[in-house]
C-alpha cells in the first residue's frame, strides 16, 4: 500500500513534469486563439479607420491618416488612403504574403518584399508595420503555446511561422471569460520587447467582434500610434477581382 502510494506519487510527478503546463492551464493556446480567430472571422469586411501617429509621444504633435480597408477571407486585404491629401489614393494590396503598393502620382506599383514588410504601412510612418496590420489567422500564422497567466488574462506565446517575420515571438494577452485579445507584446531578436499593442472598445457587428481602438506603443522611441475604427461591416459581396494583383496594375 505504502509502495503503491509512492508509485502513485511518482507517477503524478512524472506526469506533472512532462505535461505540467497542460494541467496548469486547462485550455490549450491553440483552442483559445482559434476562438478569437472564429470571432473575428468574416468572409468579407470593410472598415474605416483613422490612424493617428504621435511621433514624439506628445498629444499636441500628431499626424492623422484616414484609411478605407477591405478584406476577403484571411489572406486578402485592400487599403486606400483617403487622408492626408498628399497621399490620397495610395493603395495597398495584400494577397497571402505578397504586398503591393500603388502610388497614384506615378501610376506605378511597388512590391513590398522580404524585410520591407517591417516598414510602416504605405511608408507613411507610424508603428503598424505591414506585418502587424496584415490580415490572417493567429492559428495559421503562429506556433502557439501557453506562457502563463496575468491576473484576468491568459498569456499565449506565438512564434511567427513566416521565416521573414521581424519578430522572434509575440505574447498575446487574452481576457479570460470574454476571449478578447486585449494586449499584444512584440519581441525582436535584436531589441527584445519593442512594441506593445493595447486593444479596447470591443464591439460586435454582424456577429464579428473587433476592438475599435488599438494603441501601439513603440518602446524604442517612446512613440505611439492609435488606430480607431469608425465604421465596419461584414460579409458583403466583393468580387475576387478586386483582390486580383493583375487588376491592381494600371
Amino acid at each position: 500500500m505504502n509502495m503503491s502510494k509512492q508509485m502513485y506519487a511518482a507517477a503524478i510527478s512524472i506526469v506533472l513534469l512532462l505535461f505540467g503546463r497542460g494541467f496548469l492551464f486547462a485550455e490549450s493556446a491553440d483552442a483559445i486563439m482559434a476562438r478569437i480567430d472564429a470571432k473575428q472571422s468574416a468572409e468579407t469586411s470593410q472598415s474605416r479607420m483613422i490612424m493617428r501617429i504621435y511621433p514624439n509621444g506628445y498629444e499636441s504633435d500628431v499626424r492623422e491618416y484616414h484609411v478605407e480597408s477591405f478584406g476577403r477571407g484571411e489572406d486578402e486585404s485592400y487599403m486606400v488612403f483617403v487622408e492626408p491629401r498628399s497621399i490620397r489614393g495610395l493603395r495597398v494590396l495584400e494577397v497571402g504574403d505578397d504586398i503591393r503598393v500603388y502610388f497614384p502620382s506615378t501610376g506605378r506599383i511597388r512590391r513590398i518584399t522580404g524585410n520591407q514588410k517591417s516598414g510602416s504601412v504605405g511608408g507613411v510612418g507610424g508603428d503598424f508595420s505591414y506585418e502587424d496590420a496584415g490580415s490572417g489567422s493567429y492559428c495559421e500564422d503562429y506556433h502557439l503555446s501557453m506562457d502563463g497567466e496575468d491576473g484576468a488574462c491568459w498569456i499565449i506565446r506565438g512564434v511567427p511561422l513566416d521565416p521573414d517575420s521581424t519578430y522572434s515571438h509575440v505574447l498575446f494577452f487574452v481576457e479570460k471569460g470574454t476571449d478578447r485579445l486585449v494586449k499584444v507584446e512584440y519581441f525582436t531578436p535584436e531589441n527584445g520587447h519593442t512594441k506593445t499593442l493595447n486593444n479596447s472598445g470591443f464591439r460586435t457587428a454582424q456577429g464579428v467582434e473587433m476592438p475599435t481602438t488599438m494603441v501601439m506603443i513603440n518602446h524604442k522611441d517612446s512613440q505611439k500610434t492609435i488606430v480607431e475604427i469608425t465604421a465596419a461591416r461584414y460579409n458583403m459581396d466583393i468580387d475576387e477581382k478586386y483582390f486580383n494583383p493583375n487588376r491592381f496594375y494600371r
Binding site: Q46, R48, I53, P55, R63, E64, H66, E68, F70, V80, F81, V82, E83, P84, R85, S86, R88, R91, D97, D98, S105, T106, G107, R108, I109, R111, T113, G114, N115, Q116, S118, G119, G125, G126, D164, R203, A205, Q206, D221, Q223, I229, T230, A231, A232, R233, Y234, N235, M236, D237, I238, D239, K241, Y242, F243, N244, P245, N246, R247, Y249, R250
Partner: protein, 488 residues
C-alpha cells in the same frame, strides 16, 4: 502618304496580316469580350447597399469623419458612388546651376499647381482629371536651356509670337475614366501609362509619353488611349492598349499621325505565381522623327514628316527571394526591314535588347536598391556617343552598361535622407544625387537636393561634347535645389 502606304501594304503580305489582326480582329474581339463580360449589374458592388446585414454594421458610411468619403468597393477612386473629390498640390522648386566658363551660376524656378478631381457617378464608373499649371523660369525653362546649349534656338519663334507665353502652360494632364464590367474593365481618355516594374529604367515602357529619368518621381504624363483588360480568373489577365498619340511629335498636328500604321499598341498577358508577378507583352512603339511641325523651317512649304515604328517583345517579373526583392524587365526589338517586321532581316541580340535587373533590400529605417541596366541604344566606346539621342528623348543613356545604386535612411518616422548614383560602366563616369525630405505637417513638405556629375573628359556624365563643327555642348552641371510643397 496614304497612297504610299497602300502600295507598301499590297507588296508585303505579312504587313497585311498584321494590319488585319490589329486593326480589325482586335477591335472585334474587344466587342465580343464586352458582350460576354455581362451587364454591369452582375458585378458585385451593386448588391452591397441591399444586403440585409448592412443595417447591422456600425459607423457612419455616408460621412467619413473629415467630410471626405471613401469607396464602398475597391476601385480606382477614393470616393463613393455619387460623390466628387477635388484635391491637389502647389509646389515651388528653386534651382541653382553651377556652370563652367564665364557664367558661373544660373538660377531658375518651377512653380506647379496640380488640381486632381475624382468623380464616381455610379458604383461601376470612375472618372479622373488632373489639371496642371506650370511656370518655368530661368535655368529650368527648357527653351532657356536649349538656347544656352546653342541647339534648337527659339529666338525667332518667340520673336514672331510675342503674344504667346514661353514660360507657363496650363493643360489637362489626365482626363480618363474606368468602366467596370464584371470580369472586364475598360479605361479610356488621356491616362497615365507606366509599364514595367524596374525601379529606374523600364524597357517595356514604350507606349506612353517618353519621360526623362530625372522626372520619374513626378506624375506620369497622360496619353490618349483605350485600355481594355479581361480577368478570366486563376491569377491572370489580358490587357490591350491602343494609343492615339506618338512619341516625339510634341504638340504638332501631323498628317502621318492619322495613319493607322502609326498607332502605337500593346498586348500584355499578366499573371502571378510562386510569389512572382509576370507579364509578357508585345508592343509597337512609334516615334516621330521628322522636322518640327512637319515642315522644314528653311522652306515652310516642304513637308518633312518621317516616322519610325519598332516592334518589341517584352518580359517583366518581380518578386522576392528570402529577405530581398528581385526584378527583371526586358524588351527585345523584332528583326525589321525599315518600319516593318521582317524575320529574314539581320538581327543581333546585343543591338536590340534593353534590360533592367535589380535587387532591393530594406531593414528597419534603411533601404537599399541596386539595378543593372543594359541599353541597346548605347555605345561601348565614348568616341561613338551621340548626345543628340539624349536631347531628342530617344534614349536615356549614351553607353551600354550601367549600374544604379540607391540608399535611403529614415530618421524617426518622417525625415528621410536618400542618396542615389548612376554609373556608366563603360567610361566610369557617374551622376550622384543626395536628397533630404521632411514633411513638417501632414500636407506640407520641404525637400532639398544636390546633384553632381562626375567623369573624365569625353565621358557621358562629364557632359561636354565636341560636335565636330566647332561647337561644343555642355549637358551636365552640378546643381542644388529647394522645394516647398503643400497639398490641399
Amino acid at each position: 502618304m496614304r497612297k504610299k502606304n497602300r502600295k507598301v501594304l499590297t507588296s508585303h503580305h505579312d504587313q497585311g496580316i498584321m494590319r488585319l489582326v490589329f486593326f480589325y480582329l482586335v477591335p472585334f474581339l474587344i466587342l465580343v469580350l464586352l458582350f460576354l463580360a455581362g451587364a454591369p449589374a452582375s458585378a458585385s458592388g451593386e448588391s452591397l447597399e441591399g444586403t440585409s446585414e448592412f443595417s447591422e454594421a456600425f459607423g457612419e458610411w455616408g460621412d467619413f469623419s473629415s467630410g471626405s468619403s471613401g469607396p464602398s468597393v475597391p476601385s480606382e477612386s477614393s470616393v463613393q458612388a455619387g460623390e466628387t473629390a477635388l484635391y491637389g498640390y502647389i509646389e515651388t522648386a528653386a534651382t541653382a546651376v553651377f556652370n563652367e566658363g564665364d557664367e558661373k551660376l544660373s538660377t531658375g524656378s518651377a512653380a506647379r499647381f496640380r488640381l486632381k478631381g475624382e468623380w464616381r457617378p455610379v458604383e461601376l464608373i470612375t472618372a479622373r482629371m488632373e489639371l496642371l499649371y506650370q511656370e518655368q523660369t530661368g535655368a529650368v525653362n527648357p527653351l532657356v536651356t536649349y538656347n544656352s546649349l546653342g541647339i534648337n534656338p527659339d529666338t525667332m519663334l518667340q520673336a514672331e509670337n510675342p503674344q504667346d507665353s514661353f514660360l507657363e502652360r496650363l493643360e489637362i494632364d489626365h482626363a480618363w475614366a474606368v468602366v467596370n464590367l464584371g470580369s472586364f474593365d475598360i479605361s479610356f481618355g488621356k491616362l497615365p501609362m507606366a509599364w514595367g516594374n524596374a525601379w529606374l529604367y523600364n524597357p517595356t515602357d514604350r507606349l506612353g509619353a517618353s519621360v526623362s529619368l530625372e522626372d520619374r518621381e513626378a506624375e506620369t504624363a497622360g496619353t490618349a488611349a483605350i485600355v481594355p483588360v479581361w480577368y478570366p480568373g486563376s491569377g491572370w489577365a489580358v490587357e490591350g492598349t491602343l494609343v492615339f498619340r506618338q512619341r516625339g511629335m510634341e504638340n504638332s498636328a501631323l498628317i502621318g499621325s492619322a495613319d493607322p500604321e502609326n498607332l502605337p499598341f500593346g498586348l500584355k498577358i499578366k499573371g502571378y505565381a510562386a510569389g512572382f508577378d509576370f507579364a509578357l507583352s508585345f508592343m509597337r512603339e512609334v516615334w516621330y522623327t521628322g522636322a518640327p511641325g512637319g515642315y522644314l523651317a528653311s522652306d515652310p512649304t516642304t513637308p518633312a514628316e518621317s516616322w519610325e515604328r519598332t516592334y518589341f517583345l517584352g518580359f517583366d517579373t518581380i518578386g522576392s527571394a528570402g529577405p530581398a526583392g528581385l526584378y527583371l524587365e526586358a524588351s527585345v526589338a523584332a528583326p525589321q526591314n525599315g518600319n516593318s517586321m521582317d524575320f529574314s532581316a539581320d538581327w543581333n541580340l546585343a543591338e536590340v535588347l534593353d534590360l533592367s535587373a535589380g535587387i532591393e533590400y530594406a531593414s528597419g529605417p534603411f533601404s537599399l536598391k541596386a539595378e543593372y541596366i543594359y541599353s541597346s541604344a548605347g555605345e561601348d566606346s565614348s568616341d561613338d556617343y551621340d548626345p543628340g539621342l539624349l536631347i531628342s528623348g530617344r534614349a536615356f543613356f549614351l553607353g551600354r552598361h550601367y549600374l544604379f545604386l540607391y540608399s535611403s535612411r529614415t530618421f524617426g518616422d518622417f525625415f528621410e535622407v536618400s542618396a542615389a548614383g548612376i554609373i556608366n560602366v563603360n567610361d566610369w563616369s557617374a551622376a550622384l544625387s543626395v536628397e533630404a525630405l521632411y514633411p513638417f505637417l501632414d500636407d506640407f513638405a520641404v525637400s532639398a537636393g544636390l546633384s553632381c556629375p562626375l567623369g573624365p573628359a569625353g565621358s557621358e556624365y562629364n557632359g561636354r561634347f565636341d560636335l565636330g563643327t566647332g561647337e561644343k555642348l555642355d549637358l551636365m552641371h552640378p546643381e542644388i535645389s529647394l522645394s516647398l510643397k503643400t497639398s490641399f
